[in-house]
């Protein structure tokens, strides 16, 4: 589904990603862990198409297409979803209107008819129940004045509405207490199927107690330096990132 080969990316001439290789197949959950500044969020941003980053080498294939050649909205149309670390507050635009526009633009991209009001409402009710989000929250301006937990729940709700092939969760647990993490993780788990995949980007192991990965990758200094089964996350939690740092000295 997603095939990253030798991906290099930089921001303002500063090299962040220095040759990432990663394969994700349908039905899989991958976790990317790593210390601060290792390039985790950069990877998520580059995949979603954030324009601040420049890809200097490598390829990314997603669902048979050259992902790097697509605009952010085309990537979403192809089924890629990024749950933001810091969801943006948009005054004057209700979540409902926003998500309706998004659903119908994605449908248009896929050559499908837009949903009428009744069908949209039905879909929304169903997904609201699934991710446990309240109508009153969705009538308000998008993320404006939302708590950290509400913002993240709204991200999962949007994910449920758009039904992506690949969901990238960028530090979704940051700033959340354990109850909020559980609610968000439950939402994500309900959306998992054999046809879609999840890439969890996180600093801490705790989110992985709830969203259990098939593979864990350790990102350090712009490269994946270690991959393994879910137990690798526990090892990292126990030993801290220093053991990785000692094992893989920073190369000039």
């Amino acid at each position: 589904m997603l095939s990253i080969k030798n991906l290099h990316a930089s921001i303002d001439e500063k090299k962040i990603l220095k040759g990432i290789n990663l394969e994700i197949k349908p039905g899989e959950v991958h976790a990317i862990m790593g210390p601060n500044g290792s390039g985790k969020s950069t990877l998520a941003s580059v995949l979603a198409g954030r324009e601040d980053y420049e890809v200097t080498d490598g390829t990314v294939e997603f669902a048979g297409k050259d992902l790097l050649d697509l605009s952010p909205e085309e990537r979403a149309g192809e089924g890629l979803f990024l749950a933001f670390q810091y969801p943006v507050e948009i005054p004057g635009l209700s979540t409902t209107n926003f998500i309706k526009t998004a659903v119908n633009e994605v449908r248009k991209y896929r050559g499908e008819e837009p949903l009428d009001a009744v069908a949209f409402l039905k879909l929304m009710k169903e997904k609201m129940a699934m991710v446990n989000i309240d109508q009153s929250l969705l009538s308000r301006s998008l993320n404006e004045g939302f708590s950290g937990g509400e913002k993240k729940r709204n991200e999962v709700f949007q994910m449920a509405m758009l039904q992506p092939k690949l969901a990238i969760l960028d530090e979704t647990d940051s700033g959340l207490d354990i109850d909020a993490i559980r609610i968000v993780a439950n939402g994500v788990n309900k959306l998992r199927s054999k046809d879609n995949a999840v890439l969890v980007v996180t600093h801490y192991q705790r989110l992985l107690d709830y969203i259990v990965p098939d593979f864990v990758h350790v990102l350090y200094n712009g490269r994946i330096v270690k991959s393994g089964p879910k137990e690798l996350a526990l090892e990292l939690e126990e030993k801290g990132y220093d053991f990785i740092k000692n094992e893989f000295k920073v190369e000039a």
Binding site: E51, S71, I99, T101, Q158
Partner: protein
């Protein structure tokens, strides 16, 4: 003959110039002030960024005859909900009783010239021209010099005027360039409630210049809403002055919507002249092409315990230019004042610009005041957020800009007018309201 000389000649031809019992004195004074000050240039501090001199260097017809503006033409400029509304129609600056429809009880409309002599003469002599205390320039004087063409609106004490008063300022520029000076004095009696919506429309392709002055006096326990919607053609320019004097503990709410026209200068003065007054001022401007919008506001806290709340927002595209100048005075007497002011701008094009100047002058020591302004571009992170959900870049821009306008739109309490303005803004932003 240029416009100004022509206007002066017209003034001298007026028959009632020596009529000192009515409006003669105030007119004479204004005419002298006009001669002394002339039309303001950019050397005048309050006109630094707005040039109107060129409008007075060419030929205009002054208050041209009320040429045949047909019922059909009037229908084209009517606002939604007009079937129930009161409608005041000005053609080329003169009030047209024939085209106007007054439905509500307790609402009296008559020529200022008459009101200056009859039972209303005390109100007229006390309040007419009060705006000149705040706007000391030739363009204000020019309006007052011809004040005898104006209209007096009286809202009876205790009367709740349920349906709004729509004011249509129509200039007929089909034959020639037209200068129009519609003038109104409104008196809102004790405990009365009234809502105004004012629009400007130019017929034809010649130029029009409108020098509009409306003065509104608000008595104790009265509530006044006033909406100004500017959507005129690019060859139509105007100076539009709204002067509100709250002489009793009262509530006013104004929204100024500027979506089109060539050059627009709005003066909005609110004088809080009694304790416990409340005033809310909102504005939204969307400019494009070569258009110019200038919002000058003054809130004068003259008495204690008053509150004012001001928010103006603008989006400027192409080569358009904007000015915001917001003054708040808190007089020495006006302790316990709450005064807030904010101006936010989004520039959509490198060629667009805005000059914004918030000004607070505080002479009291126990007050809460804040002011601020921002000028920026559309937020890139917001744009990316929307695009990452599959929304195209153009649609994402429309959604964000419409969202920027929403808190001002929500201040239009008249539902049909709010929907109408939302439609205009949405069309401009290519935003799909459905």
């Amino acid at each position: 003959m240029n416009n100004l000389e022509y206007i002066k000649e017209r003034y001298n031809q007026l028959p009632s110039v020596n009529d000192l019992n009515g409006l003669g004195v105030i007119r004479q004074k204004a005419f002298e002030a006009l001669n002394k000050m002339g039309i303001p240039t950019t050397r005048h501090e309050e006109w630094k960024y707005t040039r109107i001199g060129s409008f007075f260097n060419k030929e205009y017809q002054y208050q041209a005859n009320q040429s045949a503006v047909s019922a059909n033409e009037l229908s084209a400029v009517r606002l939604p909900g007009y079937e129930q509304a009161n409608e005041m129609v000005y053609i080329n600056g003169r009030y047209s009783p024939e085209l106007s429809v007054i439905r509500s009880k307790g609402l009296t409309i008559q020529p200022l010239e008459e009101a200056a002599k009859n039972e209303y003469k005390d109100i007229v002599s006390k309040h007419l021209g009060h705006s000149s205390n705040y706007l000391k320039d030739g363009i204000m004087a020019l309006s007052t010099a011809f004040v005898q063409d104006g209209v007096f609106v009286h809202v009876k004490k205790g009367q709740i005027i349920e349906h709004p008063i729509y004011i249509y300022n129509i200039t007929d520029a089909r034959q020639a360039n037209v200068l129009a000076q519609p003038r109104t004095l409104v008196y809102v009696g004790e405990n009365a409630q009234v809502k105004f919506v004012e629009t400007f429309s130019t017929l034809g392709t010649q130029e029009s210049f409108t020098n509009r002055v409306i003065e509104i006096v608000v008595e104790k326990d009265a509530i006044t809403e006033y909406y100004k919607i500017q959507t005129d053609a690019s060859h139509a320019s105007q100076v539009a002055t709204t002067h509100i004097q709250q002489i009793g503990k009262s509530y006013t709410h104004t929204v100024t919507v500027s979506l089109n026209a060539g050059l627009v200068r709005n003066n909005l003065n609110i004088v809080l002249d009694e304790q416990y007054c409340e005033a809310h001022l909102y504005g939204i401007y969307l400019q494009q092409g070569q258009s110019h919008i200038d919002n000058h506001t003054v809130v004068d806290h003259a008495k204690p315990h008053c509150e004012s709340n001001e928010l103006y927002k603008g989006m400027l595209d192409d080569q358009s230019t904007g000015v915001f100048n917001g003054k708040i005075f808190v007089r020495q007497d006006a302790q316990k004042t709450n005064a807030y002011q904010s101006n936010k701008n989004i520039l959509l094009n490198e060629g667009a610009s805005v000059n914004t100047k918030p000004q607070l002058e505080i002479f009291a020591d126990d007050v809460k005041c804040s002011h601020g302004c921002t000028i920026g571009r559309l937020d890139e992170e917001s744009l990316f957020y929307l695009r990452s959900r599959g929304i195209s870049e153009n649609t994402a821009r429309s959604l964000l800009l419409h969202g920027f306008a929403v808190d001002i739109l929500e201040q239009i309490k008249l539902a049909p007018i709010r929907e109408y303005v939302d439609k205009l803004i949405s069309e401009r932003l290519e935003f799909d309201l459905a």
